[in-house]
Symmetry: C2
Subunit: 437 residues, 2 copies
């Protein structure tokens, strides 16, 4: 495959993230597609910023149309936002026979029908994974992963700002206005938060998902939109007492009478996974007739999570230009001749935290002996649980959670612990993962 | 696009599901790909079953090699399982220049390197979405959706049988052996459950995911595998007291020293979404350097969920044979000329359950009046919460959860309720969704 030459419109948060991700992961991406993705030109009104982010490696301009008309650009990445200039630029790029990648949900929800028609006429790709739920590959799941299904409904937490606000209202019992102010201070909410808190942003994203789910044109103007501004902590609390959480959901359902397309605060049983999606995170549940419910969770905004989706679209475009099966999408993600034979760690070398259960006679000093053995091997203790002996027994369970150590160190400690006279039987060892980093 | 002609090897659970899904969703799939997927031949040792499932619509044979050698077959779907005959059939199909779709994780985890090499030499596709986590499009997410990322680790509940057993042990306090027996009776566990309960099946799936995540050959023989057979309810309970759940996780992590590839029972903090994945469901967390953690959840087994993945692979193959951008993957999933302008339901026509909060003076009879209004409009009550008036107030909150009704009926009820003399202010109405069906 030859090089895919990218023109970037906008080098703000997402544009900067896109530049960073392509630069940092260049080698891995090349191993996947058997070719190269290069940013050849960047347009931003802030030339200084553009020069700073690109470090003089790339031509910069303050004229976005120069990028769109640049014959050396294969793909235009539109990260400007809004409906007017962005629309002109996208349509011009298409007219010039260039593929387009965009994160602009407002543009697609409102002008998508016109844009996709123009792209089809010119035979170019318009990709927009970043437009819905940031880094979560939900467009790909709907369009490709679930293509065997008749989709019955889609329901999602697709606005991180409002989910952050609702989570804070619930956790801290604070009023909407107070949390909004705090969110603005932290940069989670914009100075004019209307698009987020009134549900408009979520409705844009829902419109796009519904179109894919049900095979219909985008119809944003028909979406029902209700925000979270009048929601009180009282209702959040009452809902909780009844076993529910309140989330701003975008819901689209195909019924015999027509398609529901609605964004509003919604009570969800607290047992559902999606009810437990907190903070600025996003999640979408898709119900297909064959697969049943599936859920997709991740960061819905932010520089690099959104860039992850933008760059995945670029990789898709590069792959679609390949001519062999393997070039299109490599069987195992990376081109076969680019695989590395990495060593697999023996379990003794693995690092983990541990749960230990010991059975000990109720003698004084056993805890001191056990903790000394752990200390000697530099295994630190995270938590401990000592159980009383059960009725009629003289031995009791001791449970210890350790911090991270190497498996062979843990095993050495266990061998010494089992040799203590007060310890009976074998120790139970279960590995522990926080899955947080 | 022309027709994609499929030969199906095996018409048992997943094969039958594949046949059903393709038949039922034929029209929707055709609208997506602008062409047709047809099963032209089915092989199964049980000819009677094959005839019964296909209803005489398709040629059946008990000779799988007849399908693999059939010049009218473009794609062979291998759903036989095992390492020996399945391997021969897959390699023969590839040698004959046919694409292959398989759900056979054991085959790929053990012989994947040889199979993918053969496929690359012949320029054919080998697709295997169904091999890992059933209907969840996790292979696509890893290979395409997250292609911008350096993957740091993958951790998943990728065996439904063991997750069902662990969930039952925890919920009912039953011993492993008892739950296993029950699972076997219900058909959730096989007569010989070794592959599931010893973690071998999970290790097969993990091996495939790790290979995609880190760009390395499959190395199943190096995976560390520890099952759940010696897990006791005592440890599940102690873990719970400490704020953890025990799950059988497949974990693969890239470290400086090498790649971890391990399956074992694992304590996970109960706050993590994946700790709350219960019953036979599967979920995989993928951590990418740009996107952060993402999670994919759904049914990991069963006829139609697995068929969902098999058929999605067929759709992918059909799309890759398209020649224009739009034919490859349609912008909005469906070909533009196949979009239907579906009516969007006005919110008044939408069906929903509701949360109502009323503010009522503490007069006798107000509850009777409210419930009579709801009954008159045939709105049934699911739950009710009556709050005492707050200190110094004479009015109290009444919260009502209703069953499903139409929004305009609910609004009519609210208008009547608000007109009651004992009700002050406006009623708060929040929609409620169970997201269960």
């Amino acid at each position: 495959m030859k090089e895919l030459r990218v023109g970037l419109l906008g080098i703000g948060t997402v544009g900067g993230g896109t530049y960073t991700v392509i630069s940092r992961n260049q080698a891995d991406i090349a191993r996947r597609i058997g070719g190269k993705i290069s940013i050849v030109q960047v347009a931003d009104r802030n030339l200084e910023l553009a020069r700073q982010v690109t470090g003089g490696q790339v031509a910069v301009t303050d004229d976005a149309f120069a990028v769109v008309n640049n014959p050396d650009v294969d793909v235009v990445v539109e990260l400007i936002g809004g409906y007017t200039v962005a629309k002109e630029l996208v349509l011009k790029a298409i007219a010039n026979g260039k593929h387009v990648v965009t994160a602009n949900k407002a543009l697609l929800a409102v002008h998508g029908n016109e844009i996709f028609k123009a792209a089809a006429d010119k035979g170019v790709i318009v990709a927009f994974e970043a437009a819905v739920a940031g880094g979560i590959p939900i467009i790909k799941a709907l369009r490709e992963g679930l293509s065997a299904n008749r989709i019955e409904w889609v329901a999602g937490i697709i606005n991180g700002t409002t989910n952050f606000i609702l989570t804070e209202m619930r956790d801290k019992g604070l009023a909407f206005a107070d949390v909004l102010r705090e969110a603005q201070r932290l940069g989670y909410a914009e100075a004019d938060p209307t698009f987020d808190v009134e549900g408009i942003d979520a409705a844009h994203k829902l419109t796009i998902m519904a179109s894919i789910a049900f095979g219909m044109p985008v119809q944003f103007e028909q979406a029902y939109t209700e925000g979270i501004t009048s929601l009180t902590t009282k209702d959040i609390q009452y809902a909780e007492e009844l076993g529910y959480r309140i989330k701003l959901l975008g819901i689209s359902k195909k019924t015999e009478a027509g398609v529901e397309l609605r964004v509003h605060p919604t009570l969800i049983p607290e047992k559902r996974l999606i009810a437990n999606v907190d903070g600025a995170m996003n999640a979408v549940v898709v119900k297909g007739d064959a697969v049943g419910p599936t859920l997709y969770y991740g960061a819905g905004a932010g520089a690099e999570p959104t860039a992850s989706a933008v760059v995945a679209d670029l990789v898709d475009i590069a792959r679609l230009q390949g001519t062999t099966a393997e070039q299109r999408v490599a069987y195992l993600g990376y081109q076969l001749d680019q695989q590395q034979v990495l060593p697999i760690l023996p379990i003794a070398e693995v690092q983990s935290a541990y749960y230990l259960r010991l059975h000990a006679s109720d003698k004084p000093g056993v805890m001191a002996d056990v903790t000394k053995i752990l200390a000697d091997l530099q295994i630190s203790i995270d938590a401990m649980l000592q159980k009383e002996p059960q009725e009629g027994e003289v031995e009791a369970d001791i449970v210890i959670l350790t911090h991270i150590t190497q498996e062979k160190t843990m095993d050495a400690a266990i061998a010494r612990i089992e040799a203590l006279p007060a310890i009976t039987g074998t120790a139970i060892k279960i590995r522990m993962e926080t899955l947080s980093r």
